[in-house]
Subunit: 436 residues, 2 copies
């Protein structure tokens, strides 16, 4: 290629960029249709009401399928080319103006826990679709191809996004899920192809960046009256099944000083977890959220207890330190009570830090919209942590009133929802202009 030819192409490129920039300015500040976004939220609220309160769009149930159909309709209306990948994730794509660029991905999930809310995942999913629709209506061309990804079964362990990052293994497909179906059956139920799971996998380099809008699920933004949370990273989450073996015996005939009560030892363990976690500086959390007593009767001194321990922090070394201190305390409890503690790790999700450039970009986008921001971690697991294995990733949080989530009382104010989608739109536009 000659020098002249190269020079001509450079001029053409600069002209094209100027035009794109002009077009962007022409539409600026570029706001989404807030009323439409809220109407879509309300329509989604008609799908999967839980008789026990709130919503149950549990993955692989009929309500999940209906929710997916609804969002696919919105995506098609936004001009996206919709398909379902082998793992059952919904993909909606639009072409970019500049050939050969990696895809810019935005998205979230629409499945829920039982008796959950209509915001967790829904805000980000419908928000991503709303961004696509706003871009289509404004004839706003992006350099990069844009993909709206609705990950399947986020609440059941990030199954869809883990298939994309390659962390979901073939053997995991036989696991039972909340729906009653195995993962394999569930993926087939929603239109995926579990026999060719690897086809859903993406490689590092396939994706330019991933950006997700989500509710905070914690109470710090609402308490401090901050509009937008800029996510530092998604905490690591380790879980263990802790088994405590004592001696089952008759609750009427066994004197107090002759007991090896596994539940009494378990009670001391639960207190120790709380003491260890709260006595260290930092934002780590530790929870015992489930417990099983065997045999579990009024009149039997408990012989065995199995409880679920969950520890989270942005720093994995801190998780290890917390667990090590808990084990030390448990050993003393075991010695004093004649019980035996053992541990089986069931989850070991590593922390996923958000890309500093994306944090900066989200902060600037919010400021341009006169919204206040705060840097904070995501204490909840997120599909973004799978995506962070593949590409620079970021998250935008909006306030959750009272910090309540995974419950019927989950709520974010309409203005906060619309603010979030506007920040997502602006961040997408600015991200598209980056040349990393």
């Amino acid at each position: 290629m000659s020098y002249e030819s190269r020079r001509f192409r450079t001029i053409l490129l600069l002209a094209a960029l100027s035009f794109a920039s002009l077009e962007l300015r022409a539409q600026s500040p570029g706001r989404v249709n807030g009323d439409r976004m809220l109407e879509h939220m309300a329509a989604m609220a008609g799908i999967g009401k839980d008789p026990g309160g709130g919503y149950a769009r549990v993955a692989y149930t009929e309500a999940d399928r209906q929710g997916r159909e609804y969002v696919m309709g919105l995506m098609r209306a936004a001009g996206l080319t919709v398909s379902i990948d082998a793992a059952g994730n919904i993909s909606g794509r639009r072409a970019g103006s500049e050939p050969g660029l990696q895809v810019l991905v935005i998205g979230s999930h629409i499945d829920s826990v039982p008796q959950g809310g209509n915001y967790d995942g829904v805000v980000g999913s419908l928000g991503a679709s709303e961004v696509a629709q706003t871009l289509a209506e404004g004839h706003l061309a992006l350099r990069h191809p844009l993909e709206v990804l609705i990950f399947q079964n986020e609440e059941g362990g990030l199954q869809g996004s883990r298939a994309i990052s390659g962390e979901l293994r073939e053997e995991d497909l036989n696991q039972a899920t909340r729906s009653g179906k195995t993962l394999r059956e569930g993926i087939a139920f929603i239109g995926g192809d579990p026999e060719h799971l690897a086809a859903a996998r993406r490689k590092p380099g396939d994706v330019f960046a991933y950006l997700e809008l989500h509710i905070e699920q914690g109470g710090s933004l609402a308490a401090e009256k901050i509009d937008i949370g800029v996510v530092e990273g998604i905490v690591g989450n380790h879980r263990w099944d802790v088994t405590i073996e004592g001696v089952a015996n008759h609750a009427g005939t066994t004197p107090m000083n002759q007991r090896h009560d596994a539940l009494l030892a378990g009670a001391k363990f639960i207190e120790a977890v709380n003491r260890v976690v709260t006595s260290m500086p930092g934002r780590q959390v530790g929870t015992v959220g489930k417990i099983q007593v065997i045999p579990g009767a009024y009149n039997i001194v408990p012989g065995k207890v199995i409880l679920g321990l969950d520890v989270r922090d942005l720093d994995e070394a801190r998780i290890d330190l917390v667990f090590s201190k808990i084990r030390d305390e448990a050993q003393q409890i075991g010695q004093a009570s004649g019980t035996k503690f053992s541990y089986q790790q069931v989850v070991g999700d590593r922390p996923a830090l958000c890309d500093p450039r994306l944090r900066q970009l989200v902060t600037e986008s919010a400021k341009q919209l006169n919204l206040t921001t705060k840097l904070l971690p995501s204490g909840a697991t997120q599909d973004a942590q799978s995506m962070a294995r593949l590409a620079p990733s970021g998250m935008i949080f909006i306030p959750s009133i009272g910090g309540i989530s995974h419950a019927p009382e989950e709520y974010s104010r309409p203005q906060d929802v619309v603010n979030g989608v506007n920040v997502l739109l602006r961040a997408v536009l600015q991200l598209d202009a980056q040349k990393w």
Copy 2:
């Protein structure tokens, strides 16, 4: 009636009593056939083996019915007239020599908990039948009619004996039982007539005395190498469902200082129960044997806990005092953690003291057999507490090795089993001679 005639009858009566007394002495010391008793125990061990270990002759199951058939066969072989009352209890009777006297009752139960042992209830049931067979073989006439009573569903709340004492109410018949059947269906299944439950009821005055042989189920006789326990009384047993209400929330996103964790409050409650019960002098026991966490997941701070509290003592005022102290502690836990405690009493069995004359008589019977004795309470509930509402009642305990009961490891040595049956025989003979 003339004076002469009355005098003649008195002479006849005295002659008859001398003859009875002579006959008794002729057969003394009167021992049961120990080998036969142990063979019967072994045969019973062939019925209702639990695949999970030990025995499961859970009331109203096929194994329960087989166990009942087996013991009815033994009772018929012992010359008893066998029938099933309206409540499903098995009754085997033999006439007394002196007309108009009240019936002397001995017995126990053959139903078991799941994964239970082959001694709890079985020793007393087969022991009572063995006493009847020994009396028959020795042609030992008793003044009083003798009745061997095998109470149904002792382990499910003394259902059979409570029907006899009139404490089982019509409306209780719709309760579910461990077998899966309702109480009504269960009673019909074993040959009772639940529609005429009142027919099983007996009145105070119908029964001369009730005496039951049983395993201790606690470890004190075995630990102190005592042959026979003379039961002071059966402890009262109060049970409550304790509900703790906190706030369910996301275990990742809810900072430690913003939680109202119902399980953490429950853990402190379990510790408080233990502290209150062990800090008072006395033999009271207090147990939390079951716990339910709602919703009960690794990743949710528990919103609600329901646990089962069981408190027992021979003195009902002491049970009340223990519960009152526990409530005081719970109120402080609730205030400190922002949780709310409430209580529903589900069982309120009063203590039942054994008749002092029967205690004395059992003590003397054991001494005559050169067996050591100890006075002790029964920490377990017993059919004898229903019978104590109707008649002077007593219990004979034999050692439980390691104090283990309601478990596959439940065990009493063959010699202790035979000792117990011999004490029962001797006590029956001496009781029959009493003129209370």
